[in-house]
């Protein structure tokens, strides 16, 4: 280290300078963003409490909103199963891709790079873009949402699965190879049991995430609970919209709690 012979004063001056630079950079980023976005910091922050008050006044479901409960619950259920099925389908294909693409189990490096690149491409195209592209070909159907979530999830899970498999201790595989297991035996008896709980944990996480994204996709593609929210919202039926928000929150929290429990149980 070349810092050995510094005096404490010098050391702290340097440290302060560095800290100062970081703060200056953050401030500049903030100010530039404010200008680019055209955001009025103080006015907006001052409106936050009023917004919350408004929210509690108008978004609270009333007696009348109960009548909307039927269609809302139905759409919520549709949205949930689209989120689940898109995640599961993506995870099956993602798993195959990950086994072919992970350093430890990949048959050839060329395949590895192709899979890496495609996964990164899929992941980095925002779900909004997926929804809009697919909407044109697949119209206003659940299938559009399903595919949009599927493609994005496939990108995410392929990467997550690949990393999980690569984190696996190489020696464990070597132990199996030493016993004389072939490639498929290695994969099915060595790799998969070892990573099963981590992978499931990722799948559960993606389901939670996709449930939230499904709402957004629904707004864009006119399906599921997102569409219903948008519908009520645009007609100023805020109590019904509020009921949807509340139910989504309850569903997401329930899902989170369940998957935490499952994770703990399979760990």
């Amino acid at each position: 280290m070349n810092t050995k012979f510094k005096s404490p004063q010098q050391f702290f001056r340097q440290r302060r300078l560095r800290l100062g630079l970081v703060f200056a950079a953050l401030l500049i980023i903030y100010l530039v963003s404010v200008i680019v976005v055209n955001f009025q910091t103080l006015t907006s922050l001052a409106q936050v409490p009023a917004g919350l008050v408004w929210l509690f006044k108008n978004f609270v479901p009333t007696q009348q909103s109960i009548s909307y409960l039927g269609p809302i619950l139905y759409q919520l259920w549709r949205t949930l199963i689209v989120a689940v099925s898109s995640t599961i389908c993506a995870s099956l294909i993602g798993l195959i891709l990950a086994i072919l693409g992970a350093k430890t189990t990949s048959p050839t490096p060329a395949l590895r790079w192709i899979i890496r690149f495609s996964a990164s491409l899929l992941r980095n195209i925002p779900v909004v873009a997926w929804a809009m592209i697919l909407l044109f070909s697949f119209k206003q159907s659940d299938f559009t949402g399903f595919l949009a979530l599927f493609f994005m999830t496939l990108g995410y899970l392929t990467r997550a699965f690949t990393e999980t498999i690569e984190d696996l201790d190489r020696e464990k595989l070597q132990a199996l190879q030493a016993v004389g297991a072939n490639y498929f035996q290695c994969v099915f008896c060595g790799v998969l049991p070892e990573v099963a709980s981590t992978l499931t944990s990722w799948v559960l996480y993606m389901i939670e995430n996709n449930l939230r994204d499904a709402t957004l996709v629904g707004i864009l593609t006119g399906t599921g609970v997102g569409f219903l929210f948008n519908h009520y919202f645009k007609q100023f039926r805020y109590d019904a919209a509020g009921l949807i928000v509340l139910l989504i929150a309850v569903l997401v929290i329930l899902l989170e709690l369940t998957s935490t429990q499952i994770r703990r149980a399979i760990a």
Binding site: M1, T3, K4, K6, S7, P8, Q9, F11, F12
Partner: protein, 257 residues
């Protein structure tokens, strides 16, 4: 002088961990508390700076009762009591120098503390203290790059930075190798003599305690069973201190907190 008088502590409904503990520790001397695991060594040490609130009794440091002070008063008293730990408890991503300077935080206003504003004199003193414990060359190293023995010496320098009247040492050498043990214990004994500090150490190594301590407090099941100069400790005394607790002791000592 530290005087502990009639100190009692009960955990839960029934389990009494300290029963009428009385002892004194003199400046300029190393006082060692020895005893089997779970006897209450840690509880005594942490009661002295009130990290553990005891139930009754008096703890007099230079005739001032620590137990009677309010929150602000306690912070002030704590600032004059250094403490070092088995696991050093340094902030590992920070440099040795910064960790030593943390010894001054207790004396600062909240704002100065938050921004870590130290005077030039304090910085020089921190460097000098590091040199005193033999770590002058490591002042700008991150603490997680230092060995255990070196980290413990940074811990001692941090305690000294408080200008303490007393240093409490909670199993300071339990995680150290023999060589580092000797360095750390030598430093502590030297501090007691040169700076006239009260050094109070929890130890589970009897030989080290007898080698380094002037004064021994033996404790068993929360009761003081021996107090006197280390020269008075003989086999009979040791048997009394460690009675009944011999077999399981070795296994759990390292984890004791």
């Amino acid at each position: 002088m530290l005087k502990v008088i009639h100190l009692n502590k009960t955990y839960g409904q029934t389990k009494r961990s300290l029963k009428d503990v009385n002892f004194t520790a003199q400046p300029g001397e190393v006082t060692a508390i020895i005893g089997p695991s779970g006897a209450g060594k840690t509880t005594i040490l942490r009661s002295i700076n009130q990290l553990i609130r005891d139930d009754s009794g008096q703890i007099l440091l230079d005739d001032q009762d620590i137990r009677q002070s309010n929150k602000a008063g306690l912070r002030k008293i704590r600032h004059h009591i250094g403490m070092i730990f088995q696991n050093y408890n340094l902030i590992s991503p920070l440099t040795a120098l910064e960790n030593v300077l943390h010894g001054r935080l207790g004396a600062k206003s909240t704002l100065a503390g938050v921004f870590g504003m130290y005077s030039a004199a304090e910085k020089s003193e921190a460097l000098r203290l590091l040199q005193e414990v033999g770590l002058g060359d490591y002042a700008y190293q991150r603490c997680d790059q230092l060995s255990g023995g070196q980290q413990q010496r940074v811990g001692i320098a941090r305690a000294l930075m408080q200008h303490p009247k007393m240093i409490l040492c909670d199993e300071p050498i339990a995680s150290l190798d023999p060589k580092s043990t000797k360095i750390v214990m030598d430093i502590l004994r030297q501090l007691a003599q040169e700076k006239q500090l009260i050094i109070l150490i929890n130890l589970h190594q009897i030989d080290i305690a007898l080698d380094y301590a002037d004064h021994i407090v033996g404790i068993n099941s929360g009761e003081i069973v021996f107090e006197g100069p280390s020269t008075d400790v003989n086999d009979q005394v040791l048997q009394q201190i460690y009675r009944q607790a011999e077999q399981p002791e070795q296994a759990v000592t390292a984890n004791e907190h």
